[in-house]
């Protein structure tokens, strides 16, 4: 009986191994026996926007259009595959392991690109081969997806659209406080964060009607805040406003070779101190990040609560415009300068080609088609982004003005020139761990769980240095093999 059981077990084990092997080989066999004439190119959607039913419909429309025209001619079948955002990274990883990677992914933000930096194809050879004119895009936005790692430079994607940050403000609250609206011109010399705090103090009100300028101001019972900002965007969106003595933004918090953390530098300590100032000295913004914000302001939309004067946020908040329209008058202003530097943290969407895709030339044909002017316009429209293609920006402006003529839309267009560089989401080694460490440092200040900005900076620097050392040790070990 024991023998029967053992034989059965061995058969099962062999069967499972055989199944695993045959599953992975099945794909290859199927592919090799497939007809040569038509090549299927898959575009995986789900790393960012593009998953709403209305957006999927646009993708399907484009897919049909491509397949019945250029695709038919060139023997390429385009397929948009949509996955939910929450599952996208996991599904993409699984597809990579199974050697079934999609050919193109997008729209994907800089962070999505950074998370899988080794998986993307360098577009440079394709661009050079076809003499592709990159000057049709805002150059700052193109550079956001160029990476220089260990002396190797690669451009992994072209910008399909961007979402700059700007000051979204409630005109009604400004009017009640008797304040002038923020300027619409970027780089106005007198428009500094000090000037913004000055305004925000007058708009921050406790339940007794007092402001932080009053002696008896009750900071535990604030009913309206003057300013909210970085807790709705990553820490690097804030620290990117600080520049070193060479005039370079310190956003990355490490040396150019990515080997040494510099998050305890005077500029980083100043960034933490400035955050502390907003919260505990000026008292113009909520202390405990999103959740406390949510209590006072309602989920995901502080400005929509009608209890916030100014919100520094990315333009993807466009989904809230209708709510704002219904409740108050709002507008858009330029971001103030910090130590003489004006920076608009920007989210940029792109499409990337996968390195492990099986039909790269065909994928490049699809890629070019997606970035042809008409298709580009429909896509960027579909994602609610500002087109990075300069020829389409006036059209975008006209469309916005037609719907909401009183809004200063030009502010968002002009923000492109002030886009952060390095981008607030750009790659660093051990990206996820470093990112979490920085967010934790920021939240410890917002939550009041810290001793001093210096201590936060030192602890963060030590932790991040550990991640960098770990990353490079692994890289060096691989290189030595």
């Amino acid at each position: 009986m024991k023998k029967t059981f053992t034989v059965l077990l061995v058969v099962l084990l062999i069967a499972s191994v055989f199944m695993a092997v045959s599953c992975s080989k099945g794909e290859t066999t199927a592919k090799s026996s497939a007809k040569k004439e038509t090549v299927k190119i898959q575009v995986m959607v789900g790393f960012g926007t593009g998953t709403d039913p209305s957006q999927i419909a646009v993708h399907e429309e484009l897919q049909n259009e491509f397949n019945s025209t250029i695709g038919k001619e060139k023997g390429i079948e385009l397929e948009f595959v949509t996955v939910q955002y929450s599952d996208a990274a996991q599904k993409f990883t699984t597809l990579l392991s199974a050697k079934m990677a999609p050919d193109i992914c997008g729209p994907v933000g800089v962070m999505g690109v950074a998370n899988f930096i080794d998986e993307w194809e360098d577009l440079t050879p394709y661009l050079e081969r076809d003499n592709y004119d990159l000057s049709v895009f805002d150059s700052q936005l193109v550079e956001s997806n160029r990476y220089n790692i260990e002396g190797e430079s690669k451009l992994v994607g072209l910008p399909i659209g961007y979402y700059p940050s700007a000051l979204y403000y409630n005109e009604d609250i400004y009017d009640r406080a008797g304040l002038e609206y923020p300027p619409t011109e970027w780089g106005t010399p007198e428009w500094t964060y000090d000037a913004l705090y000055e305004q925000a103090r007058k708009m921050t009100i406790d339940k007794w009607g007092l402001t932080p300028d009053d002696e008896d101001f009750d900071e535990d019972n604030v009913v309206q805040y003057g300013y909210d900002g970085t807790d709705w965007s990553p820490w690097r969106a804030w620290v990117g406003k600080f520049f070193d003595e060479n005039g370079k933004s310190v956003a990355l918090g490490m040396t150019d070779d990515f080997r040494t953390a510099t998050m305890n530098s005077p500029e980083w300590i100043e960034a933490f101190t400035e955050l502390e100032r907003q919260l505990y000295v000026e008292k113009v913004r909520p202390r405990s990040s999103a959740a406390a914000g949510a209590s006072l302001f309602g989920d995901n939309d502080p400005l929509g609560s009608n209890r916030l004067g100014v919100w520094e946020v990315f333009s993807w908040m466009s989904y809230a415009y209708e709510t704002w329209d219904a409740n108050f008058t709002w507008n858009i202003g330029a971001i103030p300068s910090m130590n003489g530097h004006v920076v608009s943290a920007t989210n940029i969407d792109t499409f990337v080609m996968t390195k492990s895709g099986n039909h790269k030339d065909e994928a490049w044909e699809v890629y070019k088609w997606l970035f042809s002017e008409d298709v580009y316009n429909r896509l960027s429209h579909n994602y609610g982004s500002i087109p990075a293609m300069k020829s389409l920006q006036d059209k975008w402006l006209d469309e916005q003005k037609a719907v909401r003529p009183n809004i200063n839309w030009q502010v968002l267009l002009d923000a492109g020139e002030y886009a952060d560089n390095p981008n607030n989401e750009s790659w660093v080694p051990n990206f996820g761990e470093v990112w979490d460490a920085m967010e934790f440092a920021m939240s410890s200040i917002i939550g009041g769980l810290y001793d001093s900005p210096e201590q936060v900076a030192e602890e963060l620097n030590d932790e991040v240095q550990g991640y960098l050392d770990e990353y490079w040790a692994a890289q060096d070990a691989k290189a030595s093999k």
Binding site: T4, L9, S16, T93, S97, E119, A291, G432, S444, G447
Partner: protein, 308 residues
């Protein structure tokens, strides 16, 4: 001429057993392919730096991931959070479930309705429970702080203050004690009434009956619920993920072990290290379960068993 091979007579019990194997074959296939196989594979992965994408790019790192695990302060922090939660939620859940079952085993009006009401939370998935409680715990508009406000208590920021965050999960876990309650109820109802009748004749009051009859008779059920609760505590994931997110909230006060494991597997792309974390967790749960099993010889009583 060779000796004719004698046909072996298969005993009936063995023939039945062979039939049995055929019946369990589908399960064995499923177990081998979907559980045992992946377990062996994850053990292999724990010895590599697999990033979750290509096995070809993964290097063999030996016990490197396990060494890292012992020097990684976050691992110990997350383990501490999980143990702290388990040490509070397990006894509390056991007591609450048992008391509830004890009360609902009495002849009270609308008993079936009460049983259903108390069991309902156990039927709701963790994510929904967490979403519901997030609203209740809201420091400004949540009902908990509202009720505290009625008696002039300024309620804390439950989900933001590291001092209170674990208590939120404790509430959640006790609220769902209806699952254990049902098991206790079935145990209570299987205690022979003759024991209580004999005790009454001997002059035992209700409390003495509880201590000397009910609780000893219920020890196998306690044992079962402890094992299940222990495993459940170490698998705690959906609720903290929904309530505070993968980072574990302020000061990482709710960074449960499984959240940390999830981060490494799916956010940091350290699948090799995550596999090592999973195996470490498996060993911890195994050791604790074995300890409970071993201790059960001292305190679990089975009806047919005669203790020496």
């Amino acid at each position: 001429m060779g000796k004719k091979k004698e046909k072996r007579i298969i005993p009936q019990s063995e023939r039945y057993a062979r039939f049995g194997y055929w019946f369990i074959l589908p399960w064995m296939i499923g177990f081998t392919v979907f559980t045992f196989g992946p377990m062996v594979f994850s053990l292999y992965l724990s010895l590599t730096d697999f990033a979750g994408t290509s096995l070809r790019d993964a290097s063999f790192v030996g016990l490197g991931n396990f060494k890292r695990l012992f020097t990684d302060s976050e691992t110990w922090h997350s383990l501490k959070v999980t143990l702290k939660f388990g040490m509070m939620s397990l006894p509390l859940g056991l007591v609450a479930g048992f008391l509830l079952a004890y009360l609902l085993n009495m002849k009270v009006p609308l008993m079936k309705m009460w049983r259903t009401i108390f069991y309902l939370p156990a039927m709701i998935s963790g994510v929904i429970v967490a979403t519901l409680w997030r609203g209740l715990f809201d420091d400004k508009y949540g009902i908990i702080n509202y009720l505290l406000g009625l008696v002039n208590i300024n309620g804390p920021q439950w989900l933001l203050d590291p001092k209170y965050i674990l208590y939120c999960f404790l509430f959640l876990s006790v609220w769902g004690c209806g699952g254990g309650m049902v098991v206790y109820l079935s145990g209570l109802q299987s205690i022979p009434t003759a024991l209580y009748e004999a005790a009454e004749i001997d002059g035992c009051n209700k409390f003495q009956q509880l201590i000397f009859i009910t609780i000893p008779q219920m020890t196998p059920i306690f044992f079962f619920n402890i094992i299940m609760g222990l495993i459940g505590a170490f698998q705690y994931f959906a609720e903290p993920m929904t309530l505070v997110g993968a980072n574990g909230g302020q000061a990482k006060a709710a960074l449960f072990y499984n959240l940390y494991l999830y981060n490494h597997a799916f956010r940091y792309r350290n699948m090799g290290y995550a596999s090592a974390l999973a195996w470490f967790l498996f060993v911890i749960v195994l050791v604790l379960t074995l300890l409970v099993f071993k201790s059960s010889e001292l305190w679990v009583f089975y009806e047919a068993e005669v203790k020496k």
